[in-house]
């Protein structure tokens, strides 16, 4: 059970970005999707979540066998998908606490009791070492890069999705912030959640160890392996992968 991407082709107005992506992320697993800038990683993340900017021309996105390819983003979220955004939007006038409550309630039939919500939020903020005052600020307004990423992981912790996609969560974080965010993700990771870490760099993989690594080039996954593939990439770089792929005539 989990996320399955089948032969996904995606285009924007001017060009085809994903050219037949296949990927499975089961609950309980940690996957890393790596690739250079422009390879289509963020497009995949956005398409999984149903961003209307991207048009799926072929293929499917399934969660637990259910086809979500045509579903609205909010339906996907309520079904159990989560995307931690690379560049999360600012929501002026809406405090972190109010936003979290709205999001938590969106996934429930009955609104969460204020007291229960407060406890849940405090616990998760402690986990991510977030100052309690933070909850009163408007979401992402004036946040530093690190604060935005922590706010994303706080939302992940509150919403407890089945599949979490972390789009470049490591970018723009200093080592301390990266450690806190990674520890948070590790604490949340378990048999009920599958995680897909999307990253350009191997740095975050020193903190969150993936079981599976996929390398994307020009809209396709070109190599797959275990954690050792990330180490190889760290040593040899994307150009080496590119040359390998070209040599084998797969691209």
């Amino acid at each position: 059970m989990g996320l399955e991407i089948r032969n996904l082709h995606v285009r924007t107005e001017d060009r085809e970005i994903l050219r037949g992506v296949n990927l499975k992320v089961e609950k309980g697993e940690v996957h890393a999707l790596m690739g250079p800038n422009g390879s289509g990683k963020s497009t995949l993340a956005n398409t999984i979540m149903g961003n209307p900017t991207y048009e799926v021309t072929e293929g499917q996105v399934l969660l637990n066998g259910e086809d979500l390819t045509e579903a609205e983003p909010d339906e996907r979220a309520r079904a159990g998908l989560f995307l931690a955004f690379q560049y999360p939007a600012t929501i002026p006038g809406v405090s972190v606490a109010n936003f979290l409550r709205m999001a938590v309630n969106a996934g429930r039939d009955e609104a969460i009791k204020i007291k229960d919500f407060g406890q849940l939020m405090r616990r998760n903020m402690e986990l991510l070492r977030i100052d309690p005052e933070f909850s009163k600020r408007y979401l992402n307004e004036g946040f530093s890069g690190g604060e935005k990423k922590r706010a994303e992981i706080l939302q992940l912790a509150m919403l407890k999705p089945q599949i979490a996609v972390l789009d470049e969560t490591d970018s723009g974080l200093d080592i301390d912030a990266l450690r806190i965010v990674s520890e948070g993700v590790n604490a949340l990771q378990g048999p009920d959640m599958g995680t897909l870490i999307i990253t350009h760099y191997t740095r975050i993989l020193g903190y969150i160890r993936p079981e599976f690594v996929h390398i994307m080039l020009e809209g396709r996954i070109v190599r797959e392996g275990g954690a050792e593939l990330a180490d190889e990439l760290e040593d040899k770089g994307y150009d080496f992968v590119r040359e390998q792929v070209e040599a084998s005539g797969a691209a």
Partner: protein
């Protein structure tokens, strides 16, 4: 049209002069660049007349819109004008004991003639046009507020103009004088139920903020969904080292043409002007504000935010004017309008006249739509589109609403914005999804 009592001679003279202007001036049409014209072509002015009503002893005897917006326990004083008549008046006795006055302008002319004569019309001349003249010549009832020097009033002093009958012509005149170093909060509301037919509110509002005084002023307009036409001029003058924060809230009216001016008249005066409008259906709103700095060392800050649904039209034109010799003035003006339906149209026109040097003044205006990145972000958290849009619009207005600095009034405004968004939910969500 003349009130029956014998009026102080200065007021009689003022009315006579104004009536000449009124009779001489044609009904105006206000033209703007582009598609914009505000015309009263459809207003059957000669079918409207002042409607007189008797006194009431409780707000419950008035149409529900008053009690829905005003809680007597939360105000220091209240005066209600229904149609042409003052029908309710209350002032906390402890305030009266300190010399605070809140009464009809009719009574003030008799009881506080010197004060009224000194300030009345000082910033708002009948010569300005047809409707300024109308309010000067034909006003009845009216409101007069006086907070004496050094007096601090905690609870707001409230004026309500109520229209509840089609065919009503209401000529409204409010004069507020706040003495040196005094502090108070003033409110003027224009309210109507959903009447079936036409009505006119012609309003004139003047506030004088004395040296070193501090005034929080709020206007709230919710004329319901009948054909209430509101043609008003509101003007605030701020004296030396005084401060005024003015929050006008426009929540509805068939046709509104308002001129809102705030004058930093002496050195050290400071103004915050933070407005909000939300138009729906086929409403037409035409606002012109001026932030005038007559002397130097003054500061200003104007922010106007609007949202439109339905076929509504809204134009906001905001002028910063810095007079000759008003050096070291710092002021800025920002306006933003958010279109929430395909057929709504908005204009946001900031402008600047600077007649001196050594000032800093900036302005900006935009007309935009809901940000789809924000909508997608919220939907990605499970929040349905319609709710996401509602929350984004509320969040957009929130900084203005918080400027009101009064919890129950803020709640009232939030609720009315939310209700408008619920009424327009389908069209707004469809408009947002379409893009």
């Amino acid at each position: 049209m003349r009130p029956s009592f014998l009026e102080a001679s200065f007021m009689e003279e003022s009315r006579r002069g104004a009536l000449e202007v009124y009779e001489r001036e044609p009904v105006p049409t206000w033209r703007r660049s582009g598609f914009w014209t505000t015309t009263l072509r459809k207003l059957r002015l000669d079918e409207l007349e002042p409607r007189h009503h008797g006194f009431v002893t409780s707000l419950d005897e008035l149409p529900g819109v008053v009690a829905q917006a005003v809680d007597l326990d939360e105000v220091g004083g209240l005066i209600v004008q229904r149609g042409a008549s003052s029908v309710f008046s209350y002032l906390d006795p402890s305030l009266a004991a300190q010399g605070v006055v809140l009464t009809s302008l009719e009574r003030a002319v008799e009881e506080h003639g010197d004060l009224v004569e000194r300030w009345y019309g000082r910033r708002l001349s009948a010569e300005e046009g047809k409707f300024a003249a109308a309010t000067a010549a034909l006003w009845t009832g009216g409101a007069f507020v006086h907070v004496p020097r050094n007096v601090r009033v905690e609870k707001p002093l409230q004026v309500v103009y109520l229209i509840d009958e089609p065919g009503t012509a209401q000529y409204a005149r409010t004069l507020a004088v706040v003495g040196e170093l005094a502090e108070c909060s003033l409110r003027e509301y224009g309210l109507a139920p959903d009447i079936d037919g036409q009505a006119l509110h012609a309003g004139a509002f003047e506030l004088f903020v004395g040296a070193g005084a501090n005034v929080k002023l709020a206007h709230l307009q919710d004329w319901g969904r009948g054909e209430v036409h509101d043609i008003s001029t509101k003007r605030v003058e701020i004296a030396r080292d005084a401060h005024c924060s003015w929050v006008p809230i426009h929540l509805g009216g068939h046709l509104t043409k308002q001129t809102l001016d705030i004058v930093c008249a002496e050195r050290g005066s400071d103004m915050r002007h933070t407005g909000l409008y939300f138009t729906e259906g086929d409403e037409h709103l035409d606002l012109f504000t001026t932030d005038l700095h007559e002397q130097g060392d003054t500061t200003g800050d104007t922010v106007w935010k609007g949202a439109l649904t339905g076929d509504s039209r809204a134009s906001y034109e905001g002028l910063i004017q810095i007079a000759k010799g008003a050096q070291n003035t710092h002021t800025y003006l920002q306006t933003h309008s958010m279109l929430l339906s395909a057929k709504a149209k908005a204009d946001a026109i900031p402008s600047l006249i600077v007649e001196t040097d050594s000032v800093s003044a900036s302005h900006g205006g935009t007309v935009g739509e809901i940000d789809e990145d924000q909508v997608f972000f919220m939907m990605a958290r499970g929040i349905p589109r319609a709710e996401a849009v509602r929350v984004l619009v509320e969040g957009y207005f929130e900084p203005v609403v918080q400027r009101l600095g009064d919890e129950s009034l803020e709640t009232l405004v939030r609720e009315r914005i939310a209700a408008k968004l619920v009424r327009a939910e389908d069209q707004v969500a469809a408009y947002s999804a379409r893009r």
